[in-house]
Subunit: 168 residues, 2 copies
Amino acid sequence: MHKILSILVRNHPGVLSHVAGLFTRRGYNIESISAGETADPKITRITIVTYGDAKVIEQVIKQIRKLIDVVKVQELTYEDAVTRELLLLTIFVSMNRRPEVITVANTFGATVADIADETMTLEFAGNNLKINNIVKALGNFKIKELARTGLVAIPLESKLEQNNGYHH
Amino acid sequence: MHKILSILVRNHPGVLSHVAGLFTRRGYNIESISAGETADPKITRITIVTYGDAKVIEQVIKQIRKLIDVVKVQELTYEDAVTRELLLLTIFVSMNRRPEVITVANTFGATVADIADETMTLEFAGNNLKINNIVKALGNFKIKELARTGLVAIPLESKLEQNNGYHH
């Protein structure tokens, strides 16, 4: 099963490698990781997507909670969270084919971040499926660089309301 | 000085914590990290932003290059790269103030990812400055959750052309 962990940590050197190390020691790979600021500059949110046996993941989570600089660990699923990744994609595009790429960008809601003599760079935020789709839609163009952030996730409030039967 | 490192690694358990660990051992904090897929499913790109003495960073880079699963290390600066982060922001919004938030979203090119009875979730991709600006523009609303991916960066081709004096 896939598990999304949203971990709030204090910004001390080493927290990140300690957290990542807990997965490694059990031979677990991290599918995606991303660490960025929160509203509090002293706190960083680490979002990790991992895959594996539920029991083992539970043990890893227990050990993460014990780390001194870990403030909070939240488990999320794709169903009850807004999950997004960011794609930067540079493809080789001859001048006469630029309109074709712009059409695909507009269709998917991507932005042109850069145009050079032989390349175009697109920027796109979406879930995993949509990112794969835009890469497929541009499959005729040779890729020069492709970079994706790790996934970031926050609770899907409208879904939580539904689950709680919460209404005005 | 700020340094952006774009590191291509083979997808083996432990690479990430080894890379992160090299910073830790020198007491260096990682400002932002993000690891996601590339065009080759066997290769992950880790993007790290770090801050510190140029000489020490050079030493860390040398050690990263020596790691067995590291394929390539690229040093980028904010001037010669497209740098982007993704923001997910959930704020408390009463029903009558929703249009206000939608106006800010439209102005900045942000997307409404979710609306619940008491909250709205916005999604926004941009550079550090633009992300800070949209958070400021919504400063009147109480933040429920704020999550940012780490920064992701790829070379700014149009700038490289300029530097190389490359023209058709």
